[in-house]
């Protein structure tokens, strides 16, 4: 009942993701309930043609869902099953870390995109980006560079380090929370994120991805 309420709240507020709801999906279930796969904030067709329905079908239903299943398998019957995703990310290594982080990373990534996204950020996020990078274009350049040149699987991140915005990349499942940084925006550059729609052309994928960036969600992460 509660799940239905929360998921319909999520679906009806694509751009205005309530912080409370967000925390439920990133912190996981405490008290021994299995971790669950949060619903996508939009229908699978919503981000096409940049992120096709087929990509979301595989990326969400296969990759993201498998990370949830694997995580539950790894923490079953242990005290770790009662920990939050974020706590697991802070304390674990190896398989539990990889799967917990990938569950978190993907949920964050879906929310960083919106069919109504794109354009330049306004308000506080726009100001903070200007302050940290000089201009939105300069930030865009740095983030794009990090995303396109990352070797192997990983993620490009805009993070807050103390009070400074920075662009970094994480390898494989690496999540900035483990380094005490605050995630603000992410782009998945594992090949599975773009191979169906862009094949090897990661640069094209990142270029187009900017048209999906959900600045409303991003601004809530500051």
């Amino acid at each position: 009942m509660l799940y239905k309420k929360l998921s319909s709240l999520l679906r009806s507020s694509t751009n205005k993701l309530d912080r409370v709801v967000w925390r439920k999906y990133t912190t996981g279930a405490a008290g021994g309930e299995p971790f669950t796969l949060p619903p996508l904030p939009y229908p699978k067709k919503a981000l096409a043609p940049i992120v096709s329905e087929e990509t979301l079908e595989y990326h969400y239903e296969k990759h993201h869902r498998t990370y949830v299943t694997k995580l539950n398998g790894l923490v079953a019957n242990s005290p770790k099953a009662t920990m939050t995703l974020e706590d697991l990310i802070k304390s674990e290594k190896g398989g539990i870390y990889n799967n917990a982080a990938q569950v978190w990373n993907h949920t964050f990534y879906w929310n960083c995109m919106s069919p109504d996204g794109g354009g330049a950020p306004k308000g506080q996020i726009g100001q903070e980006i200007d302050k940290a990078f000089g201009s939105f274009d300069e930030f865009k350049k740095q983030f794009t560079q990090e995303a396109v040149t990352h070797f192997g699987s990983g993620w490009a991140w805009l993070v807050k380090d103390q009070d400074k915005l920075k662009v970094i990349s994480g390898h494989d499942a690496e999540n900035p929370i483990s380094k005490g940084l605050i995630p603000v925006l992410t782009c998945d550059v594992w090949e599975h994120a773009y191979y169906i729609d862009f094949r090897n052309d990661r640069a094209k994928y990142v270029e187009k991805w900017w048209d999906l960036v959900n600045w409303d969600f991003v601004s809530k992460n500051l």
Partner: protein
């Protein structure tokens, strides 16, 4: 084998770069070498069970072909992120299974490659999407046992 190992840009060969450099140079040299080796480790008429010297080495090192296959499948299927699974040998033709991450190559650990499978997503995403296990299963039908035999110390 000569073509794979002596192709060079500048003063060092690929193998030298793999064995002596780190960072970007090592990764890129590794990826050139790894892919060339991978193409050669496949053959349209490949597959089936190995015979002769390679089969003997496998039996001696793993107990049976099935035991080797299981270990190799495991390494290939469970590798997290981009990388490669390898059958490698030492100077006594003792075989083992290992995996390398991203552009890594067992030469930098003093092991000699005998077979490899690419498990970067780009290797299988077009044909198998997320299903790496099915790709690995099908890959066995292409294994070039002659190439593998040539990698043994004679």
């Amino acid at each position: 084998r000569d073509r794979v190992s002596t192709q060079s840009t500048g003063k060092k060969s690929l193998e030298e770069i793999i064995k002596t450099q780190t960072g970007k140079a090592q990764s890129l040299a590794g990826q050139i070498w790894n892919h060339t080796f991978y193409w050669n480790a496949l053959h349209p008429k490949g597959g089936g069970k190995p015979s002769g010297k390679i089969a003997e080495a496998i039996d001696k090192s793993f107990g049976s072909f099935d035991a080797f296959k299981k270990e190799f499948d495991d390494a290939a299927t469970t590798h997290f992120g981009s990388g490669w699974a390898w059958l490698v040998r030492d100077d006594n033709n003792k075989l083992s299974v290992t995996s390398t991450h991203d552009g890594g190559n067992p030469l930098s650990e003093g092991k000699t490659p005998v077979l490899t499978i690419d498990v970067w997503e780009h290797a299988y995403y077009i044909d198998y999407r997320h299903d790496r296990a099915s790709y690995v299963k099908a890959w066995w039908e292409l294994v070039n046992w002659e190439w593998a035999t040539q990698q043994l110390k004679h």
